[in-house]
């Protein structure tokens, strides 16, 4: 087993670090949260810079414009980006982590040749059209209907949790092409151009406030049959391919960012006097949140939990590289534990902030400084996105119990 950089890894790390140090300042500050057009432009600008520098699609095959590098280099790249505070994939998330890898695995040569370079260059933005209001954990019960009409599918239905729907050029869409077949059998995976007539995208407000999510209503949207990926009615299997990518590594950059946020929380705790309403021998002394053994130790526990998630990621990535993708044990264990760690993180953050845990934004202080309260509270709320999205924690436990431990299936 080896974790430290090999010589070539170390060279690559140095190169990435230097490039980030030079180019991040050029990119400038991200736009205010909620300004979606600016966000799209910003993310596209950054993606273009990455592409030009050879850092787009680090682990994608060179044939499609990727770097064709090792999984190890991909992780190094992500770790360096997180440490430097570089933007994450943003609007490119679905294209690069879901649709792209699915196309690489399942699409025709024509589909690949058209879409993959555009995704890497940041030219085309993708969104996901999987979940429906009535099909959440039980995704296969989806009802959005596609009826064949000549060279087109005519699609009617509604989708939810369409991330970056407002910005997308294409949608990876799951539809029901055979309503008579068993529920997993009649599904197909389509590429839907978002400029097709009949698509209504409405922003979806989440518990975090404004969000990148949308609801999407489809009214007789005509999609060319050549936009089918995989075979007709074989879309469930294709979607499972998408999930095998999501399960393993979609959260890596997010994990790395969370690890830097623990450092931030510790820094905040060291500077923030902690309320002592009660009178006692130490009343009135300035004692920071960090001086509180319970809070400090709990921050250490959260850091240890996230460190372990980083180790598990490296194990999962090593196994995936050995062939066959991330095994369910590793993927579900990651998702389950990571969501608990983020909930835990949020709970500690509330204790650090204590009576200043009152805003989803930074709190303005006198003298022009501010207290970064909202950032940590938003992360606390975000924990639900992890414990609910892409298979709830309950679903992950079923997967582990049934597929890994061999316990009887749910009846």
């Amino acid at each position: 087993m080896r974790l430290r950089d090999s010589e070539s890894d170390a060279r690559f790390r140095k190169e990435v670090r230097a490039w980030l140090a030079e180019n991040l300042p050029v990119l400038g500050q991200p736009p205010a949260y909620g300004d979606w057009p600016a966000k799209k432009a910003y993310d596209q600008r950054w993606q273009k810079m990455l592409f030009d520098a050879g850092y787009a699609g680090i682990d994608w095959p060179t044939a499609y414009g990727g770097r064709g590098a090792t999984a190890s280099e991909q992780l190094i790249f992500l770790a360096e980006c997180a440490a430097a505070g570089a933007p994450d994939l943003g609007v490119h998330f679905v294209g690069q982590l879901h649709a792209g890898p699915t196309l690489i695995a399942e699409a025709t040569d024509e589909q690949r040749a058209f879409h993959l370079p555009r995704i890497l260059r940041g030219e085309s933005i993708w969104c996901q059209g999987f979940s429906e209001p009535g099909a959440g954990s039980d995704l296969a019960s989806l009802r959005t209907r596609a009826v064949r009409d000549g060279d087109h599918y005519v699609v009617t239905g509604s989708k939810i949790w369409t991330s970056y729907g407002f910005a997308a050029d294409y949608c990876e869409l799951l539809v029901r092409t055979d309503p008579e077949a068993g529920k997993h059998r009649g599904i197909s995976w389509l590429i839907m151009p978002m400029d097709s007539p009949g698509i209504d995208v409405r922003p979806l407000r989440t518990i975090q406030g404004e969000s990148e999510f949308a609801e999407m209503f489809l009214d007789e949207v005509r999609i060319p049959v050549e936009n089918l990926v995989g075979k007709e009615n074989d879309g469930w299997r294709v979607a499972m391919v998408t999930f095998s990518f999501e399960r393993g590594t979609a959260l890596v950059r997010e994990l790395l960012t969370a690890m830097t946020m623990v450092d931030e929380l510790a820094t905040l705790a060291r500077s923030l006097g902690h309320g002592q309403y009660h009178s006692g021998p130490k009343a009135g002394q300035r004692r920071t949140a960090w001086d509180d053994d319970a809070i400090r130790r709990e921050i250490g526990q959260v850091a240890a939990e996230l460190d372990a998630m980083w180790a598990l990621t490296r194990r999962n990535v090593t196994r995936a590289a050995a062939g066959g993708g991330v095994p369910p044990a590793g993927g579900s264990a990651f998702k389950l534990t990571y969501s608990e760690a983020i909930h835990h993180f949020g709970e500690v953050a509330m204790k650090v902030l204590e009576r200043y845990a009152i805003s989803l934004d930074a709190l303005p202080l006198s003298g022009g400084s501010s207290l970064p309260a909202g950032r940590h509270i938003l992360e606390h709320l975000h924990a639900f996105a992890i414990s609910i999205g892409a298979g709830t924690s309950q679903i992950q436990k079923n997967i582990l119990a049934e597929r890994v431990l061999g316990l009887p299936r749910e009846r």
Binding site: G136, L204, R205, G209, L272
Partner: protein
């Protein structure tokens, strides 16, 4: 000993619950964000039921009931997610009849201890509902102090965590009019803490109800999700937390009523388990945990819908997060309980 709700208490709760359901429904509450949109008429109707004057003597328009009854009513207010400076109204009714009658608003804050917060001097002050309030009351070790709300230079908190509890930060609250001494301050801290815990306990109970109702109708995998043992157990645990929190709050409120006036340490009682300060602190530990954990559970049971702004559970969670630090914090309360423990050597 008779430690259960009698018919009068149940009727009182039902009256308040009916008013809330009619005049202060969740759908309206979620759109209240500031004084301009605040439904003063509904608030006054609530006050007219005696909500804020339950413990006041008859000559001050009160019902001469105990903190126990006030706690039961505040559990209903918590369950209905009623917005506004509820606890402040019930405290300030002691000294300002207009506030008790719902004709004016007040807000009550505790002085930031020296050395707390981001500034070495302590602070800033956190003041809820400053736009609504006529007066700001300050509780500290020396007593209770009053300032005109207009005299407080507050900065509104951007994007408040609980959208129906607007907040202000202030460098200073010029509270120079003394309205009571250390005894009133102590009484307000204890009563304020119980009433905030009552709101939390009610909050905890309601999110279980909402999640249970959802689990009975939402179908996935061809059956209602409430039929999955995992969901059943999550809800059973949440129900239990709410029940226990509610009982703990009731016990704390009753203990406060039963404590003889002037007996500062409540130490002259025969029953060794009788200790109001400890009961009040313990109630906060359990009510805060129940409210935040139950709302979390309810969001999880709602799945994706629970993550939407539209589904109201998150408002309960956010309210709980803000309330849990009112007059004490769950951590400080646990410490208070610890410090109340007796010396006892193992046999």
């Amino acid at each position: 000993m008779h430690f259960d709700l009698d018919e009068d208490a149940l009727a009182l709760q039902a009256t308040v619950r009916d008013l809330c359901a009619g005049r202060l429904p969740l759908e309206a509450t979620r759109d209240w964000t500031d004084a301009a949109t605040f439904d003063r008429a509904a608030w006054r109707a609530l006050a007219e039921l005696g909500t804020f004057t339950l413990t006041q003597p008859e000559e001050r328009g009160g019902l001469e009931l105990g903190v126990a009854e006030a706690g039961l009513v505040f559990q209903v207010l918590g369950a209905e997610l009623v917005p506004g400076p509820l606890v402040a109204a019930a405290l300030v009714a002691d000294v300002d009849e207009r506030v008790g009658a719902g004709e004016a608003f007040a807000t009550v804050v505790t002085r930031p201890p020296a050395g707390s917060g981001p500034a070495r001097a302590g602070g800033p002050w956190v003041v809820p509902h400053l736009d609504l309030a006529a007066d700001v009351y300050v509780v500290d070790d020396e007593g209770v102090w009053k300032a005109a709300a207009g005299a407080v230079e507050g900065t509104p908190v951007p994007n408040p965590l609980d959208p129906t509890t607007p907040m202000w930060l202030a460098g200073e609250v010029p509270a120079d009019e003394r309205v009571g001494g250390p005894e009133l301050a102590r009484a307000w801290r204890l009563r304020g803490s119980v009433l905030a815990s009552a709101l939390l306990a009610g909050n905890a109970g309601r999110t279980v109800e909402l999640a249970t109702a959802y689990a009975k109708q939402r179908e996935q995998f061809g059956r209602v999700i409430g039929g999955f043992q995992a969901v059943k157990h999550l809800l059973a645990e949440a129900f239990t937390r709410a029940e226990v929190a509610s009982v703990a709050v009731d016990a704390a409120a009753v203990a406060l009523d039963e404590a003889a006036a002037g007996d500062e340490d409540f130490a002259s009682y025969d029953d060794p388990t009788f200790n109001p300060v400890r009961a009040i602190a313990g109630a906060r530990v359990l009510a805060a945990r129940a409210a935040s954990q139950n709302a979390k559970t309810a969001i999880q049971v709602h799945g994706g819908m629970g993550f939407t702004w539209e589904t109201p559970i998150h408002l309960f969670l956010k309210r709980a997060w803000v309330l849990q630090n009112a007059f004490t914090t769950p951590e400080e309360a646990a410490d208070t309980v610890a410090h109340s423990l007796s010396e006892r050597k193992a046999a």
